[in-house]
């Protein structure tokens, strides 16, 4: 009975692992193929089933039938990092304010303001696409990096506020009060006392901002045409009826690799129990 239970348990875990790994193995294998190896039906093993070639990887730097991936890569990094950084600064400040002081604007109180921030995540991107498009066109920021950064700030700030409000609520108020008694103003209290203690929350918030920023396709796709191309857009552009699968796979690997590493960070937080509070 117990053996059967264990056998089923490991079988289930292994089956799901296989399902998770399947696309990754396929894309790694495909990235070393050539046209011949792709058109002859599905093959997995280099040397045994097909002669491996580096042409897919070379095409990332402007080879035949590929894309030059450096520019989109840099664009994606710039937009994601600066969007996340600005969203994190604004979001952390707002979250601290909402967690420590009472605000009132007519019938609206702290809870309503917090809900306004977080509720932006409910908004389907398509609803915002047209007004964003017209707004950026009006500002002359369509198809530019600053325009995209602006959009990403709006998209990522709700995440930062959501994580940080919860986090600050769990930091004891005594810490603030002590600093006030020592003559600190709220601003210096925040900078000298609270911020250094807020690192775990900031890490989680930053991580979520990076994931959602780097993985966004929709806004990168609708708000740019030719001048500025982000990584996901340039990869999807390869996706046509005569897709060069090898270039596609190589590009996909470099695109998802940096964030896949974050899985380790998340797991560390999980094991230490630090995530339960942060994700509610």
């Amino acid at each position: 009975m117990r053996t059967l239970y264990l056998a089923l348990k490991y079988l289930a875990v292994l089956l799901w692992s296989a399902f998770v790994i399947f696309p990754f193995l396929w894309m790694i294998s495909t990235s070393f193929k050539t046209a011949n190896a792709v058109t002859g039906g599905a093959k997995w093993l280099p040397w045994l089933q097909f002669e491996p070639s580096l042409s897919g990887w070379q095409s990332l730097f402007g080879g035949v039938g590929g894309i030059n991936i450096l520019k989109p890569y840099a664009n994606s990094a710039i937009v994601t990092l600066s969007g996340s950084a600005i969203a994190l600064v604004l979001g952390t400040l707002a979250a601290y304010g909402l967690s420590r002081f009472t605000f009132k604007a007519g019938p609206l109180k702290n809870g309503d303001i917090t809900f306004f921030f977080i509720s932006q995540r409910i908004m389907p991107p398509i609803v915002l696409a047209i007004p964003f498009f017209l707004m950026l066109r009006f500002l002359g920021l369509l198809d530019t990096l600053p325009g995209l950064i602006l959009i990403y700030v709006a998209m990522l700030m709700p995440i930062a506020v959501w994580v940080m409000v919860d986090f600050f609520n769990s930091v004891p108020r005594g810490l603030d009060e002590m600093a006030w008694m020592d003559g600190c103003t709220p601003v210096t209290t925040f900078l000298r006392v609270i911020l250094p203690n807020a690192l775990p929350g900031l890490v989680v918030a930053a991580m979520f901002c990076l994931i959602f920023g780097w993985n966004d396709f929709f806004f990168a796709f609708t708000m740019t045409f030719t001048e500025v191309q982000l990584l996901p857009v340039s990869i999807v552009a390869l996706n046509s009826s005569v897709t060069p699968w090898w270039s596609l796979s190589a590009a996909a690997i470099v695109s998802v690799a940096p964030l896949a590493v974050l899985a380790f960070v998340v797991e560390r937080f999980l094991s230490r129990g630090g995530l339960a509070g942060a994700v509610r």
């Binding site: 696309p23 304010g97 921030f117 609708t222 999807v236 996909a252």
Partner: protein
């Protein structure tokens, strides 16, 4: 008490209001105009767009399809995610390895992985059909038939987002106190009994949270469809977002698509609020 408190709140609030609230109000105004590629500009045509929308069968079909797809995938993700979280919760070898592995898909870019999935589903060159052939199921016309394409979208969504359910539920499991489990063991409860009357009730609140977050995110579904099937074959996998995208960003019927997207926003908000209320009543025993 302190003037300075506004230094914290206002920058973020003003930025968000400027970037989101004003454009949204503008959209409401645009939805009462016939702004399109031939006549750009804000004229006033009353509720004509909304009358047209009421008659637009393709829109309502897409909305129905989206609802089925959303509820279906989220239920699958919840069941699988919960099962996986229970599997790697305690006594299993290489626990941390499996935890990391199970989290990886949610870190990957959905569109990029969808492009890869599209090659996997390829009927003659992809790796999936040979495997199905070998285990006796036979090759399937994955992306060229309506039902299959629908299933393909669901498979990709489950692959991508079950890890998110897994993450939240595992975090919940790890934060549970130990005493109820000891009590259950002393009372001689078996694993199934323990799950039904101890684990599951204690996971009620976090389950509702996880399901709601996923329902919200899944109801925006469009990128996977765009890459995998382009809404096809025909319009058989078209979701609401994708249909609005076609009307607005491709046909450039700005006025009409504004009315479509506002209706979509309202329908989604109402539906999600009702679901949230029902779930909380159903699954959260004591609301503290």
């Amino acid at each position: 008490m302190y003037r300075q408190k506004y230094i914290f709140l206002l920058p973020g609030l003003l930025v968000l209001v400027a970037i989101i609230l004003f454009p949204l109000l503008f959209t409401i105004r645009v939805s009462f105009s016939s702004w399109d590629v031939y006549n750009p500009g804000l004229n006033w045509i009353g509720g004509e767009n909304y009358a047209r929308l009421w008659e637009d069968a393709r829109y309502w079909e897409a909305l129905t399809r989206l609802s089925v797809l959303t509820v279906g995938t989220v239920l699958l993700q919840y069941t699988l995610g919960f099962a996986l979280a229970l599997l790697v919760w305690r006594d299993i070898i290489a626990r941390r390895f499996f935890r990391v592995l199970f989290l990886v898909p949610m870190m990957t870019t959905p569109v990029v992985m969808s492009v890869i999935w599209r090659t996997i589903f390829h009927e003659s060159l992809g790796p999936l059909n040979p495997i199905l052939d070998a285990i006796g199921i036979g090759a399937q016309p994955w992306l060229s038939q309506a039902g299959h394409a629908f299933a393909a979208v669901m498979i990709v969504e489950v692959w991508q987002w079950t890890p998110f359910m897994f993450l939240l539920l595992l975090a919940g499991l790890l934060s549970l106190p130990n005493e109820p489990f000891l009590a259950a063991r002393i009372d001689g409860a078996g694993p199934i009994r323990t799950f039904l009357s101890v684990t599951f009730p204690m996971m009620g609140a976090i389950s509702v949270g996880a399901i709601l977050i996923r329902l919200i995110e899944a109801s925006k579904l469009m990128e996977t469809v765009y890459v995998l099937t382009s809404g096809g074959p025909g319009t058989s996998t078209e979701t609401t977002s994708y249909y609005i995208y076609i009307r607005g960003m491709r046909d450039f019927q700005i006025g009409y698509s504004a009315s479509l997207s506002l209706t979509y926003l309202i329908v989604m908000s109402v539906a999600l609020t009702l679901i949230a209320k029902a779930l909380i009543r159903l699954m959260v025993k004591d609301r503290t």
